[in-house]
Every structure is written in C-alpha cells, then in structure tokens.
Symmetry: D2
Subunit: 329 residues, 4 copies
Amino acid sequence: MAQFSKSMKKIAIFTSGGDAPGMNAAIRSAVRVGIHSQVEMVGVIGGYSGFLEQQCQTLTPRDMANIIQRGGTILKTGRCPEFLRPEYRKKAADFIHQQNFDGLICIGGDGSFTGAHLLWEEFKIPIVGVPGTIDNDIWGTEMTVGFDTAINTALEAIDKIRDTAASHDRLFIVEVMGRNSGFIAAHVGLAGGAEGIFVPENPISVEKIIEKIKNGLSRGKTSSILVTAEGQKPGRAYDLAEQIRKKSGFDAKVCILGHQQRGGSPSASDRILASRLGAAAVTSLIEQECDVMVGVMSSQIVRVPFADAVSKEKKLDKDHLNLAAILST
Amino acid sequence: MAQFSKSMKKIAIFTSGGDAPGMNAAIRSAVRVGIHSQVEMVGVIGGYSGFLEQQCQTLTPRDMANIIQRGGTILKTGRCPEFLRPEYRKKAADFIHQQNFDGLICIGGDGSFTGAHLLWEEFKIPIVGVPGTIDNDIWGTEMTVGFDTAINTALEAIDKIRDTAASHDRLFIVEVMGRNSGFIAAHVGLAGGAEGIFVPENPISVEKIIEKIKNGLSRGKTSSILVTAEGQKPGRAYDLAEQIRKKSGFDAKVCILGHQQRGGSPSASDRILASRLGAAAVTSLIEQECDVMVGVMSSQIVRVPFADAVSKEKKLDKDHLNLAAILST
Amino acid sequence: MAQFSKSMKKIAIFTSGGDAPGMNAAIRSAVRVGIHSQVEMVGVIGGYSGFLEQQCQTLTPRDMANIIQRGGTILKTGRCPEFLRPEYRKKAADFIHQQNFDGLICIGGDGSFTGAHLLWEEFKIPIVGVPGTIDNDIWGTEMTVGFDTAINTALEAIDKIRDTAASHDRLFIVEVMGRNSGFIAAHVGLAGGAEGIFVPENPISVEKIIEKIKNGLSRGKTSSILVTAEGQKPGRAYDLAEQIRKKSGFDAKVCILGHQQRGGSPSASDRILASRLGAAAVTSLIEQECDVMVGVMSSQIVRVPFADAVSKEKKLDKDHLNLAAILST
Amino acid sequence: MAQFSKSMKKIAIFTSGGDAPGMNAAIRSAVRVGIHSQVEMVGVIGGYSGFLEQQCQTLTPRDMANIIQRGGTILKTGRCPEFLRPEYRKKAADFIHQQNFDGLICIGGDGSFTGAHLLWEEFKIPIVGVPGTIDNDIWGTEMTVGFDTAINTALEAIDKIRDTAASHDRLFIVEVMGRNSGFIAAHVGLAGGAEGIFVPENPISVEKIIEKIKNGLSRGKTSSILVTAEGQKPGRAYDLAEQIRKKSGFDAKVCILGHQQRGGSPSASDRILASRLGAAAVTSLIEQECDVMVGVMSSQIVRVPFADAVSKEKKLDKDHLNLAAILST
C-alpha cells in the first residue's frame, strides 16, 4: 500500500488476463463514478498490450449504457508476456506519462496485479486493482468478480448432466476451470450434490472414490457425478476416468465445461460486487492511496497491498469439502 | 439463546411461511447430516399446521435425492394463524411430546421464528431456526436462503424489460417483492442499472424521479426503468405510474413480477448457504443450544437468539442506494 | 401480391409495432443478404415515424455484428397513429422517393402491414413484410418471429410459479399476452401443464373451471395453475380471480407476466426463422414481387399477399386445447 | 404400417437409446390419454432391458404429476445389445404375453425402432414409436422430441463462448453432438452466427475455412466461432484445431459441449411436440394401426412405417448451410 500526492484529472482503466463476467459492470461503475467526480476516464484496449500499442479512447457515460448485463469486456483483454521485460514496461510508462494519465485501474487477476505493482515500484505510477477472475483465487477478498456467475454456469451444466446420468444409471466426471485452485470445483460440487470433488488443495485417492461409488450402489444410488478442477492442463478428467476404469471397471463419461464458464450475463451478485469495486478503485485513487487491490471482506470494502494479494495464498475452506462429502451420501 | 440438556435421537424439521428457493437444499442437508450423526429425522408437513394436523413422516437419505436443485419445499409450507393462540400451541406441544421429537428445526422467516421462540419459552421444546425467505429482512444473518435466487430471477425479468424499453423509448416501473423491506428492490435496482429505486427505508419524492428522467432525456437517454418494492400491498407501481403521469405527462408502463420471484431452481450461492445452515441447525441441537437462528456473518456460521432475530431491524445499506443513484446517470 | 419492374440498388428496412425477440436477427439477415447482392441497405429508425421524421442511416455488415442474440430492435420501433391519415403517408412517400429507396422491408404485425399495403396501393412503393410479433396471430405463416421466445419466457415463469403453488397448495391465475388471440395462452398452457386455459377463441365458463378444480382436489391434486390471455386490456386475471372467489370461495393468486414476454435473447428457433425470413424478404424484392409478407408454411418459405395476411383470421387449433384439457387431469 | 385386430386394455410404454428432453412429457401424455381412454398404462424400466429383466410398474395419472418439465426420463433408458439376438427378443415377447400387454409404445431413435419393428414382424406384438432423440435424424418427421431443447442448450453455450472469444480476439471451435448427422451443428451454427459449420453431409475443406477467417480479419472481424458435429467419435474438434494450426498458424481453442446437450428442462416446443406425439401413439394403437412411428409433418400428425423411418435418410437442408455462410460475413 502506498500514499502518493497527485490529484486525479485523468484515469486510465483496462482489463487484463482472462475475461470474467462482471468486468463490464466494473468498468461502467468506475467510469461513471470517475466522471461524477470530474475525472476524465480513458479506456485502454486489450490489457497491457494496449499501453504498448497505444490503443486508448476517452469514455463517456453514454458509452457505458447497456453494458452492465454483458459478459466479456468491451475493453478487450489478453495476456501480455512482453510486460515481464523491463524495456516494455518502460515503454508503457512513457505512454502513460505522455497521455497524462494520473492514475490507472487494472481489472484482472494476480498475474495482472504483478505487472501493476511493478508500474508503481519502478515508475511511481499510481495504480489500483479490481479482482476480476472466475477462479476466486486472490488473497484479500472473499469474492472476485466473475466467480459467482461462473459457478452458476457450471452448476446449470451439472444439473443438465444429472438428468442424463440418472436416466442412464451412469457415472460422470465433470471438469470445471481452476488451474491451481479448487474454488470453482468445491463450490460447484457442493451446490451440485456431487458424489466426489477433486481439487488440488485436497488430493483424494481414486480408490476412495471408487469405494464411495460402490457404497452408493449398495444403497441403491445408481448414478454419480464427480467434479474435478482442471489441474495443470485441461483434460485431467480423462485421466481420472481411465484410472477409475482400470481399478474398478466402472465406465465414466467425461464432460469438460471449458470456456463457456467465462462468458454469459453476470449474476446479480457479480454485478453488485463489480459496481462496488469499480467505484472503490476510483475512490482509492482520489484518496491518493495506491499499489492496492480493492476487495470485499465481511461485506466491507477493503484495500489490500498488491504485494499481499499476489503472494499470499487464499485457502479453500476444508469444512466446505467435508460438508459436501457428508451430503453426497 | 438457551442451553438445554437432552441428547438428540429424533429431530423434526419443517418449513413455514412463504416458500423460498433453497429450502429443499436446507432440508436435504439437515436430514443427511442428522442421519450421519445417528439421529432419526422426521419431516412435518405444511408448516405449523402439520403439528396440529399431525402430518409427519420419517425421512431417509434416499428421500433427499435429487431435491437440491428444486424450488419450493417438499415439506410444503403455509402460514398458520391458529398458532398465535396458546391452546393451539399446547396442542402442537402435545404432539411433539407424543412423537418423542427431541428437537425441532424450523426453516422460515421472522413470523415463523416468533412461533418457534414461544415453543421454547412455553414448553421448553428445543428448536433452532434456519432463515429461509426471499426478502433477506432478518437481523443477524447477512443473507437468507432464497434471496440470491430471487434477485437473479427479478434481474432476468428486468434485463428482458430493458430490451423492450430501449426499443420503444419507454419508461417502465417494475415492482418487486418486499413488503416492509427494500432489500430485493435495492439489490435488483443496482444490478439492473435502474434509473430510480423506491424502497420503504428511503422514501424519495416522485418529483425528484421526474427531474432525473428529464435530465436523462436531455442527455440523450430515451428509456428508463424504475424499480419499486411492493409496499403494503402489491400494486404500488400503479400508484407511482399515475402520480408520474399526472405530474409530468410521462406515460409509464407497469410490470409486477409477483410470485415467480419465489420459485425456480436455487442459485449456487443459495444452495451452498442452505446446505451450510441446514447442517449448522443440526449441530446446534446436538450441541444442546437452542432458541436460536443459525445465520452467516462474515462468511462464518453464527447463532443468533430468536429474540434478537425477530425484534431487531436489519438496515438496508444506504451506500448501496447512493451508488445506484450515481451509476444510473 | 404484385409484380413491379425496378432493380434494387437501395433498400430501406424498419421495425414497426410492438417489438419481438428475433427482430434483430431478421435485420441482420436482410442487411447481410442485401449487401451480398450488391444492394445498399438503409435502416429507418423508430418504425413509420422514422419516415416522417426522416431518421435513417446506411447499415454495414459490421453494424450487424453481435446483434443476432439481442432482444428488442436496434432500429427501434413504435406505433405511428399519424400513418392512418393520407397526408402523412404522402409525406413518407416523398421521403422515400427523395432517398431513392427502391424497396422497403417492414418487420412487424398486421397493423404495420396495413400501412405497408397502402404504401404500395397509393404510391407503388415496392414493400415486403416480415411477420414479427410475439402473438403469432398472422394468417399465412405458421410462425411469427418472436412467438417461440415469448412462450418459452412465459413457460419459465410458470414453472417457477408451480414451485410456489405446489408448496402452498394454491390456485394461481397467470395472465399472458395476446389481446385478441390465444396462441400464447394455448401453447404455454399446454406446455406448462395448466389446469385451465382461457382464450378469446374458446370461451369456457368459470363454473366449468371450478368443477375441474374440485375434481382435481377430490383426486388429491392440491394446487392448480390457470392460464389466461390478457383480453381487451391487461388485468383480466383479476376479474377471473374475483369470479372464482365469489362462486367457489377458492382464493386465487394472480400473476400478470407483462412486458418481460417481449424481451430476452431470441430462441434458436426464432433466430433461424428470422434469418430465413429476413433473407426471403430481400429475395422477394430482388425478384420484383411485392405487396406480400414472407412467411413459412410446412417448413417452406411462402409469399402471402398483404391483403390476405391482414384480413384473414388464423385459427387456433382446437385439438390443442382439447389435448391440454385431457392432460391436466 | 400394419393393421391388427385387438382392443387395447393394457399398454406398456418405455424409453430407449439416448435420453432426450421431452421424453417425460411424452410419457405423461401417453399415460394420461391412455387412462382417459380406459386403458391401463404400464411403464417398463430401462429400455428393452426392462423386458428382459422383467421390470415394470403400473402408472397412474398422479405418477405423471410434475414431470412435464423434467429432463431425462423417469422410466430410465439405455441401449440393449442383447436385443439384436433372436433368443432375447423371444424372451421379451414371452414377458409381454405373460403380462397381457396389448400394445407397446417405444420412445427412442432409429436403433430403438429397429427393435420395435422386429417385435411386430416376429411376434405380431402391436407397437408404435415416438421419435425421441436430440439428433433429429429420423426420416418421416420434421422434428424429433428433444432437438429443440438441445439446440437451445448448445446455443446458450455458444453465446457465452462468444463473449470470451470477442474479448480475447480468439478463434473457437465448438463441438456439438450429432454422430452421423449435422442437424444440431447446422441449426446451432446458423442461430449462433458461426463463421463456419462442419457437418458430415457437406464436407468443407480446412483451407476454405482458413481463407474465410483471413477475409474476416481483413474486414476487421477479430474473433470467430466454428461449429462442428462430433463425427464418428467425440473429439473431432481437436483434429480440426490441429489442422488449422498447422496450415495457418491460427491458434484455435476447443470446446466440446458434450452430454449437457441431452439434459435440461424441455423447451415449450419440445413439450408440445412430445405431448402431441405421446397422445398420437396411444390413438394409433387404439385405432389398431401399428408398426409405425408417429411424427409431425407440416404441423400435422403422421404415421410413418418403421421400415421407412429406419431406412430412409433425412436430408439436411443445404439452403440452411448456404444462408449461414452468407450471414457470417
């Protein structure tokens, strides 16, 4: 967290990393709150690349009309590997100075915040982050923008798969997003009544799952759904299915939900969170506090140093998994 | 809050008052957690009336299959005015003793908790409440089961109405549920980008709204949506429309969302909340603490005395309304 | 139906009357097919009023990006009572000649087609119609653009209301759109398993419905949903509820679905129908046949004289209502 | 098609092959219409296996309550390879005679109808089919039960993927169901505005698609979605992505929609179709006509000999694909 001394006349906003539902609601809120506070708001296009390629445009309240309900991001996004190299960050900083951006708002995940932190560290460019990622894997905020929508999307798919699983007495393995973190899998698994949940944080053996399926069968449960986080690369569900087949003879069907989890109209909860955090980011810059991510803890807005947000690990609640295990009997 | 000394061998569970999405998820969780703890679980049918009409049945884990995603309540519900009279409560208590129910779990709103509190006060029947109401108007818990689903349902309707409002350059007034409380209206209004929000907690004048609509028109905004809580009886939106017409000549179309807000498959968030609270209610009884509602504050399970839950007023966050006002410019 | 002799270099397209989901898909298709055939495509804004207020703009393929899934109409719409008077139609014709529009495409309902027919009759302006109305009440086409989406929207609401009806053992009356025609009510009633359907084409007595509800009760059916078309003005459901209460004592809850039935992302079927009809309208103009509506019969594109489309009455299939009556036992 | 002479006192109904949304609506309709005609209705469980394992139960109107909106099939389904062997068919026929089933109703696809045809041929058991498959690949009926729901499910997924495709300027390949037939892919591709559609009936070269993507890029179109039918086994999309990468360097993301396409609450159109066909199947048996599938052509109920339904090929409308190609410019 850092104090700086500069009044905000012009703020640039951009989205970075994977897109998440609610990013547009965050943009809309920041832009309208900024303009309401007499700040000129500029959108930079395509994430960090937009600074390198000098793509930006002033945003008006009218540009924000009718976007709160749209998935994706009107400012486009992407990953920008060049930004790992100092000479490119220098180039971005030059552009920022040349455009007279007094402050920056970055909507993205921890990779994006690492870059943001460096812009402050190296060039003293005031920058504030809004946590926007479906993975919910950012320390310092209970929820990230996009998570609630993503789990509802995955849940709808699982509800549909359960129809067919129950009709055919089948075993399904559903793979949801979440590379290094099991938040989506754990929440969707609990909400979807999954018979087993595989997350990186809590490895369980295939043997145990097989035993559970057998127990279920003996009690008259003829279909089961397992939920797994994707792991290091999409496709983990195929490995699991193969292991289960080898060790038990059970034939498991695989469903990989994939990128549909990123899209769709944001849920009420995500729109509200995004609106609150977009506004809070502008306020933080106006109050001259930067190098922070704005988040929400116990329903209150908090400011979390980027250094903490990117280095500390948000723990998955084990009670959650235990409850899911009891409930899926 | 009260301690009692009785071990749980048989717990009765029932739903009471207006139904809310997620009630089935709470029932499923309580029943499976109870049975997992060697407690016999019995469902009482139709709310408090079920005790008077002696309608109940033992529930098995299999009875809980495939209900987590269902709206409504498999135990049925209703209001029971007789329960306001001591002789009927006595009759219920007799039935409870006769059936050897060691504890009760009541899923409902504040009216239901008033009855629950009396059962403890008058007959020392251990009873724990789970807040289940779409209105979210219960003190002591950040969220009630059903609220998240209801605002998403209302939001979908508003998104649809916005399509037609924008195509016709029209003014719409959308009436959502919430008799004495504006939680649904405030959340839906913010999430839906409403140009005005009418809630009992924060009366605003029709003149102010008209001025706002005119300002919007002068800036090129040709359609508007106002959201209002229903007030003392459904139909308030018609009064508003009439007032607006008289004072400004603007012709406002009225939509009353009504009972569809109560139904539908519960959202992920409601299913998880319901699962956690259903389990927590059983735990509270097993730990011999009663006369409480279980709730969630700052993501943690809490136990709130019924006396507080029914008497204290949960305040609507004014920041919320202020933010909505700024964002709808 | 009329032949004319003029090659198409510039076509104007507009939407008129009530908006319907899929209108944008029809616009997109007509515009892209037109441009693909080397025709300049111009959008007239706000229905017939756009001709009087001279509001139009050339449309490019890029303008059509990302609209196929949007509800409402990007060209805006409205009713235009002035168009009933010859002097205004003359004014419109002057504008059309001045702009060198070789042909017109009107997306709307029978009121809109009456105006379209007059433009041909009085000024020999080649014009073709695309049936776009949620009511499906246009003779000569099996389906109108928007109907399928509207019935699915209404059906989702009814499914939700059934949750709460079943939980409370209640009687509900759900009012759907359809002023003079019962297509929406009949289809939604059959698809929603309604216990009674009230449509203008097939009046049934309240007594008969009451008898049916009583029969259902005697067989253990404790909740019922009646579906009614709105009739001459919205609110008919309240009258029905009052009559039922007076004659039977049953207390019926009322839900008026209202304008949400007009909005929302169009269904697959509506997008495909709209795409086919939008293209067919351009083809008809290019083939120099006008004064017709394009429609679909037995899966084939047909051209129907405006005179027939607006004067003949499309009959509601009575088998449909009979089947619904048998199925709701 | 065959006439037989036996009056219906007891009809058995079963679902067979892959499940499809709307099967329950068809069961409900057949059962209620049957009972309305004084026929006893019996459900056989698990498809043809149910005859071999002698699993069946009498169905009442109350058993049909609240299933019209459910995905899957309450009678369960499956494939039954044993039924290809005469001795097993004999066993089934013995069971049918022993149970005094006067007629059979089979809800399924062409594999199921082949078995049905043999039951008539070999044992003169009157049997009528209802086309229930999401693939819509059955000759003699314009639509099969489940197709409309499946394309809407796939379309929702594609709309979501488009959000993320547009935000990242990405190329996506979405694989939908349809082993030997491209109906789902063609309809979803047209409705979703896909830039390319790969179906078995109309092979197009990868080179052509690459050229199209390049043309789009040159006109400012930065994201594209291709839709492909799954082909002989799921995973075809990966092959396509690899070919495109090799030949053009474009990096395409893959989404395989999978089994979620089979589930979900049936659409209005599917519920109505299923209700009509379920009723028509009973009527056909009562009218003593069998060895047929009931279907719908030009909105009318038709009876199609099994021999035709299973041997003739339903053609995909090429105009459909051509239109999609023009519209995705």
